[in-house]
Assembly symmetry: C2
Homo-oligomer: 342 residues x 2
């Protein structure tokens, strides 16, 4: 039994006493307690050791008082489980030294047994659930197939992911084959997260906003739809395709319970696009947490007012920045908790 | 007298026999003829030597057959003229080793006499106009004040420009002082470009899309408006704020003749937001030029159909990528020229 189920009730469209709040990347580099563990253990060591993943996942619940925990992990554990080498070099970003470029490269990739390859994630979830002891719900997550393809083909971060796009534009059949393999893996992965105890799951399409509306439908949403279909009956499902404001209507039509939005769309317009039967999550500019605390408080109030009561989860519009002071993060969370809709 | 004034007539809303076409960064790294000069001369040497700037500006007119030339230069010549050191390290991006962080730093910046500091640009324009000999119009340009502030404060490229944003959020008075100085310089700079012979000017707000709608109005559009006001009676003016789809209506209200849009908004919706009294420019995904030529041709036709006849300038939604084959760029231009609206 959850003591604080604001997030889940809001996702299901129920009336709640106040707006729930969490922050993307809330278990991260702005927390000194996280930095201590980051000094001592490598990135994948932290992901793969259930005790470490658990400790990191719980830090923001204890320190900043968010209404949900989100599993500490990375979207790139899926390409790794599918057979690709992934290096995560701190403050340089991910590198996949042997990216997918041709049909031959595709033979190196498989749809794995997730219990064998990603069992450490499910162990972490079980431990986190035990340690949380019902305080707040736990969010599981995975990357959207398009975003994972970006890394698997480009081999590293990019402003434009033009090599990943060129792969899709010149070898569409191969691209769709890879996207389907990622989708099948992701469905099994998220179902196993739910089985292990995740109360809700979020699909992160960090690079969905690089695509035209037509390409987003063809290369991204088509696969997100399959994932939502497979999971939505088990737990509430949140889709966050950063920058893909143009497809809020078709994302809402997937049957997802929540849609993440970034700060470049006004809440009123997002609501108009997405319709009334879905919860919106967002959309504070992460850089605004660098403002003085009174400015943060004022802008949080304006944001909550603009979303109106109900069907809203307060969050940032993207991950919290590493240089945000902890008391600014706490001010954000507290301002949401203190707000009363008039 | 211009032999090809399709671009200017389209900007003024006149009916033309076909849609004009040019490409952002058309004088750039995808052209082998440009790479020869890039090997021999440093970046600012190419900008500051009128003969080189002229040769580079004319290359795409001769090689890919675009309907307009755009001055070869860089938006960062303005911060340079204002007193900041700017280093342009090839394939690494710009570095400003002494960025603006405090009120003391601001004392290093001035609103310069543009004839003294940027005279080489006006000399280049005069030479280009002579060499073009009326074949096509010449587009002058400048960066929008917000985008220039991003570099002047952050000191280098960034995905989020969070230091530039933090500067504005924590020291708003200082930020507005700097934005006004950039604006005053830019107005003098663009007026002098027009005096030297530029037939139209484009204002590039490359990082406008990083701001929320409210911040875009406050930190960017307020200053773009002043620039458009000062220039629009002299020549047609194009505003391109990449990603700022949410403010197409208020950008149209500046009185600009043209608005650039990127590929993440459907032409029909951009037209709805911007209204009918302005020319739209765009919006082909630059990465799509890496597709096979028949795909490029098909997608160009679909784009032109979606914009409909009149009040449209065909262009990319951002700069052409360095790895685009020249015959793909030419296929893009030719496909526009051959299209007939049914």
């Amino acid at each position: 039994m959850l003591q604080n189920d604001l997030l889940l009730r809001t996702l299901r469209g129920e009336t709640t006493e106040r707006t729930p709040v969490w922050m993307m990347r809330q278990a991260g580099r702005y927390l000194p307690e996280y930095m201590v563990l980051r000094e001592k253990y490598g990135f994948f060591e932290r992901c793969q050791t259930p005790e470490l993943a658990c400790e990191i996942t719980l830090q923001p619940v204890d320190i900043v008082g968010v209404d949900a925990a989100i599993l500490f992990s990375d979207i790139l554990v899926v390409p790794q489980a599918m057979g690709l080498e992934v290096q995560l070099i701190e403050s340089k970003g991910p590198v996949l030294p042997d990216p997918i470029k041709t049909v031959n490269d595709l033979s190196r990739v498989r749809v794995p047994n997730v219990d064998e390859t990603l069992g450490y994630v499910f162990d972490a979830i079980k431990l986190i659930k035990k340690e949380l002891n019902g305080r707040v719900p736990l969010i599981g997550f995975a990357g959207a197939p398009w975003t994972l393809l970006c890394y698997m083909v480009q081999g590293k971060g990019s402003k434009t992911f033009d090599e990943a796009k060129a792969f899709c534009y010149t070898q569409p059949q191969l691209a769709h084959q890879l996207l389907q393999m990622i989708t099948d893996t992701t469905i099994a992965y998220l179902k196993a997260q739910v089985k292990a105890g995740a109360d809700t799951v979020q699909i992160f399409d960090s690079w969905g906003g690089l695509l035209s509306p037509a390409d987003f439908e063809n290369l991204s949403l088509k696969y997100i739809r399959q994932i939502v279909d497979a999971v939505k009956e088990e737990v509430p499902t949140i889709v966050f395709a950063k920058g893909a404001w143009h497809s809020l209507d078709s994302m809402a039509a997937t049957g997802a319970h929540g849609l993440g939005i970034d700060w470049c769309i006004k809440p009123e317009l997002a609501r108009q696009f997405a319709g009334n039967n879905i919860t919106l999550q967002g959309n504070f500019d992460p850089a605004k947490l660098l403002s003085p605390i009174p400015v943060i408080q004022k802008e949080v109030r304006e944001m909550l007012q603009a979303f109106g009561p109900g069907r809203h989860i307060a969050n940032l519009g993207h991950g919290i920045l590493p240089n945000v002071p902890v008391d600014h993060a706490r001010a954000f969370v507290d301002a949401v908790k203190e707000f009363k809709h008039s």
